[in-house]
Every structure is written in structure tokens, then in C-alpha cells.
């Protein structure tokens, strides 16, 4: 191994260790009573909705419709809410706590902060969403519940990984208004551009999630023609690669922006 190779390997090792460190530290911060209470409320919410719908329909709720509702409630709503709470304030929280500067003066500290916080946000949100899935499936009457559970769990992971990267950009571009900006991004990009049957929706996570749901549930042939316009007919691996590419681009952009960000002393409260 040459000296440059060893240096590069050391850099990668140090960077991954720093990301793990930040992720662990941020996860401990997320285990506070207020955050746990929020997790409990968000986790129970889909089950409560499904219970109310099951009772209102007196057990006659169509199984596929129930799965579609679970998809809307968990990989969409719960994941979105969880990531808004955990990913949006990654930089703003550090500035408010006065801890940003401590991390920013460490070698590679900025990148580690962003990527470690991203990992923590994904883990925390996915854990809440998976718990919500289990609770909701316990009260919902769906066909092949074990299979649906696996599909929803996979969609939760894809949603968290994709949307977490999406929210990283507002978090570093406008940290103090990241929440508002992220809600805007969610509405405009995910729920407006994402349902436009054109090239623009190819760059959204929501298209990939819907397409994966349709493919994994085997709904391709039963979907009405107009709804088929809202999904991509490519196989699931294409959807996963697309999400992976999107995540790589978004996180790289966020890292490069944060590397260059300068916060005047007055920004640290």
C-alpha cells in the first residue's frame, strides 16, 4: 500500500468513525422525554386512524384500500413528520445550543455533524415508523399482513433515507428557517412535482415510493389508467437505484454547502 493510499484509507476511517460518533451522540439527544412523548404520539397516530376507519366502515373496509391508507399514514405522513422534527434543525440546533463552533473547529467536523445527524434522524424516524407499522397492522384488517408488514417496512426505510437527504438541503442552506423551507419542499417537490406525469417527477422520492408500493403489492394490472400515470413502470431495483442516486446527489450538495458555510458570531445564540 502506498503512502497516499494509506492516508486516504485513514481519512475514510476517521470520517466514518466521526459520523458514527455524531450519530450516537444525536440519538442520545433524541432519547429525551419530550422527544419520546412525540415519538409515542406519532407512533400511535396511524393505529388510531385505522381503528376509527375500521369502526366507521364496520369491518367492510377493502383490504387494498386499507394498505393504501397505511402507506399514506406511515411511509408518507409519519416519516415526513419524524424527519421534519429530527433532520431540519440539525444546524440550527447546534447554533442555538452554542455547540456548532465546537464541532466546526474539529477536522471534518462539519461533514460528520451533517452525515451523523442524518443517520440519527433516519434511525429515529424509521424506528418510530416501524413501531407505528406494527401497531397499525394490529388493528387494521389487511390481506397477507406479514407480507404487507415487510413491504411497509421497506417503504419506511426508503422514505426515511430519501426524505432525510431531501431535508438536509434546507437544513444547511437556511438553518434558521429550515422547518418552513422543508415543509415547502415537501409540498412543492414531493406532493406537487411528484404527481406531475413528466420528467420532473423522476427526481422525487414520492414517485419511487408509490411505484415500489404498486410493484410489491402486485397492483400494476388492477390500477385504473389515470392512476398508472402517477407511478413508474420500471422494476423495483430501478426505483431503489434512483432513490440511492438522489440521496447521493442531495447529501453531496448539502455537505459541500455546509463545508463552505460561515456563521457570523452573532448567529450563535
Amino acid at each position: 500500500m502506498t503512502v497516499p493510499d494509506a492516508a486516504a484509507e485513514r481519512l475514510v476511517h476517521d470520517s466514518l468513525a466521526a459520523i458514527r460518533t455524531v450519530a450516537g451522540f444525536q440519538l442520545r439527544r433524541l432519547l429525551t422525554p419530550p422527544r419520546l412523548a412525540l415519538a409515542a404520539v406519532v407512533g400511535v397516530f396511524p393505529a388510531a386512524v385505522m381503528l376509527a376507519v375500521e369502526r366507521a366502515s364496520r369491518g367492510r373496509l377493502d383490504g387494498d384500500l386499507a394498505v393504501a391508507m397505511l402507506y399514506a399514514l406511515i411511509p408518507e405522513a409519519v416519516c415526513m413528520l419524524g424527519l421534519l422534527v429530527t433532520m431540519c434543525p440539525v444546524v440550527a440546533d447546534e447554533l442555538e445550543r452554542g455547540t456548532w463552533v465546537h464541532v466546526a473547529v474539529r477536522p471534518g467536523g462539519r461533514r460528520a455533524l451533517l452525515l451523523g445527524s442524518y443517520v440519527a434522524a433516519v434511525v429515529w424516524t424509521a424506528a418510530v415508523a416501524l413501531a407505528a407499522t406494527v401497531l397499525a397492522l394490529a388493528v387494521a384488517d389487511v390481506p397477507r399482513p406479514a407480507s404487507v408488514a415487510r413491504i411497509l417496512a421497506a417503504l419506511v426505510l426508503v422514505s426515511c433515507v430519501g426524505r432525510g437527504a431531501l431535508f438536509a438541503l434546507p437544513a444547511v442552506i437556511m438553518p434558521k428557517r429550515a422547518l418552513v423551507a422543508s415543509v415547502g419542499v415537501a409540498l412543492v417537490v414531493e406532493y406537487l412535482a411528484g404527481v406531475i406525469p413528466a420528467v420532473v417527477n423522476q427526481a422525487t422520492v414520492s414517485l419511487r415510493l408509490r411505484s415500489l408500493l404498486v410493484a410489491w403489492m402486485g397492483w400494476e394490472r388492477t390500477l385504473p389508467t389515470e392512476v398508472q400515470l402517477l407511478v413508474d413502470s420500471q422494476p423495483p431495483w430501478v426505483q431503489l437505484v434512483a432513490v440511492g442516486g438522489l440521496v447521493a446527489v442531495l447529501l453531496t450538495a448539502a455537505v459541500l454547502i455546509l463545508d463552505r458555510r460561515q456563521f457570523p458570531p452573532s448567529d450563535e445564540i
Binding site: D14, A17, R97, A104, V105, P107, A112, Q262
Partner: protein, 308 residues
């Protein structure tokens, strides 16, 4: 160690640091200036948090912004209080040591060592929220030294400390500066003097003086100072003042005589008693402003070539 050339930092239209050129060799240095003078911006540039708008800053021969090699050798203790109150000092310092590249075991050992050095080992497992300001200050300092940097940069490290804690921290920092380099920013002259550090005085983003504490004092003492005397017969008092040694200029503003002198004590000890004897109605004597603000003001005058 630190080479700064025509360094300027602008925040939009606001000037943070204005055309500063200075070389700081290895050793201890105090950065002195009132609040808002640009000290924190200066330190932000040195510690690689900020990029210069113009000019250059080199630390250990390299630009510090985003430079892993330089950042690895710097320890920074910012002025802002540690806002993360749920974490313990041990967790916090271990976290920072791990971000500096140490593995979990080594980082924990270094954190324990640093906390012991700052005298916080016994309280290291209590949440920061339950610690006094002085203890949190020590926790921040431990975080800055745990990776054993070559240069320790402290921003207002003594603010909010009681006299005992302040003395202990001064001793701690002084001990550090015997073996490693140190830059301390403060708005209090005596704090920096206590560290036996060279001084750089910054005001309005400009470096207005640098040297040892004695050199700065001699420089200040060599400047004319203003003594203001309010009396019923200002013209007569002006005549008396002109006869006192060291007086360089006298002007009258209403019933106030403003005497610019290199020996302000002589004006007060000679001219004022004579004015009282002559019943000139002396109602107020304002001695030369030797407070830090006054000194800064005079240094600015000196730097701009303005005579008081």
C-alpha cells in the same frame, strides 16, 4: 505561528475585521478589545470558522479554513456558554475527542485526563445543567485541550466567573502557556496581563497596538490625556493650566476647560489648587480617562495620527 496580512472580514456592509496585519510567534498572546471590537471574528478567522473577505491568514503556515491538518492542531474554547445542558462534561469532552480522531477508549481516557487537569473530574458525570458557570467554563476548556493541541485559542474565558474560579482558571491557562501556544481574547486588561502574554489591541475591527503589556502602557502614557475642569472663570483657569508642565493644548467649551497634557496629575495637583485659592468656582474635575475604553480611544487617535 500565525501570519496575518491585510486581513479584512466583512459581513455584508458590517466590518468584522479591518485591514489587520500581524505576526504572532509561538507563545502566549492576549487579544484585547471592548465588546464588539472584532475579537471573536478575528478568532473565527484564525480557527478556520470564517474565510477572509480580503487578505490572508496562515496558521502553522497554512490556511485554516476547512484544513484538517491545521484544525487538528488547534483547540478552541468559544465565549458562548455550553447550551447543551443534558449532557455531562465527560460525555461532551469524549465526544469532542472522538471528533478529533481518537477511538472510543482513547477518547474517554483523554477526556478524563483533560477534566482532571481543569479540576472537574469529580463533577464530570453530572449534567452540565446542574453545574455552575465556572464548572461549565472548565468543561469547555477541557474539550479544547483534550486532543492536546499545539495552539489553544480562548475567547473571553473568564466572563461570569467568581474571583476564585477566575484565579484558578488564570493559573490553569498560565500553566498551559508555559509549554504550548495560547491566544486569549478578553475585554479586561488585567486578565490578559495576568497571563504574562504579549498584547494585541483591537478596536473597531482594527489592530491599534501590539507589544508587551509594559510597551502598551508606555505607549499610552506617552499620549496626551485630557483633564476637564468645570469652573466659573474658564479663561483664567486656562491661563493657570498653560503654566503647568506637560500641558500641550487648552481649549474652552462653555464653562469647561479641556486640558490636553502628558502629565494629567500635574494639572490636578498644581492648577486646580491654585484655582481654588483664587476662588475661580471650580465645581468639577474630571481626570484623564485611563479606563480601558479611554486607552482604546487614545490608541485609535494615535493610530490615525490624531493628537488629542
Amino acid at each position: 505561528m500565525i501570519e496575518i496580512r491585510q486581513l479584512t472580514k466583512l459581513y455584508g456592509a458590517v466590518i468584522g475585521v479591518n485591514d489587520v496585519s500581524v505576526d504572532l510567534a509561538a507563545g502566549a498572546h492576549g487579544l484585547l478589545g471592548p465588546n464588539g471590537a472584532g475579537k471573536t471574528t478575528f478568532l473565527g478567522l484564525v480557527t478556520g470558522q470564517l474565510r477572509p473577505t480580503m487578505g490572508s491568514v496562515l496558521v502553522f503556515g497554512e490556511r485554516p479554513f476547512g484544513n484538517r491538518r491545521v484544525l487538528r492542531r488547534i483547540g478552541y474554547c468559544p465565549a458562548a456558554d455550553l447550551g447543551d445542558r443534558s449532557v455531562t462534561p465527560r460525555e461532551w469532552v469524549t465526544y469532542l475527542a472522538r471528533l478529533s480522531g481518537f477511538g472510543p477508549g482513547v477518547a474517554a481516557a483523554r477526556a478524563d485526563d483533560a477534566l482532571a487537569r481543569v479540576g472537574l473530574f469529580d463533577a464530570a458525570r453530572r449534567p452540565c445543567g446542574s453545574l455552575s458557570k465556572g464548572m461549565r467554563q472548565r468543561a469547555k476548556l477541557a474539550g479544547a485541550i483534550a486532543h492536546d493541541p499545539d495552539l489553544l485559542v480562548l475567547d473571553e474565558p473568564f466572563v461570569g466567573l467568581d474571583p476564585v474560579a477566575r484565579h484558578e482558571l488564570v493559573e490553569l491557562v498560565r500553566a498551559w502557556s508555559r509549554s504550548k501556544s495560547l491566544v486569549v481574547a478578553s475585554h479586561l486588561l488585567h486578565e490578559v496581563e495576568a497571563l504574562d502574554a504579549g498584547l494585541a489591541v483591537i478596536l473597531g475591527g482594527r489592530l491599534v497596538a501590539s507589544g508587551t503589556a509594559d510597551e502598551i502602557r508606555r505607549l499610552v502614557d506617552s499620549l496626551p490625556a485630557e483633564v476637564r475642569v468645570r469652573c466659573g472663570a474658564p479663561r483664567r483657569f486656562a491661563e493657570l493650566a498653560c503654566g503647568v508642565a506637560g500641558v500641550e493644548a487648552v481649549r474652552i467649551e462653555g464653562d469647561v476647560v479641556i486640558v490636553a497634557t502628558r502629565l494629567p496629575g500635574a494639572v490636578i495637583e498644581e492648577a486646580v489648587p491654585r484655582a481654588v485659592d483664587e476662588r475661580l468656582g471650580v465645581s468639577e474635575v474630571i481626570p484623564a480617562d485611563r479606563s480601558l475604553e479611554g486607552i482604546f480611544g487614545q490608541l485609535v487617535h494615535l493610530q490615525r495620527g490624531v493628537r488629542a
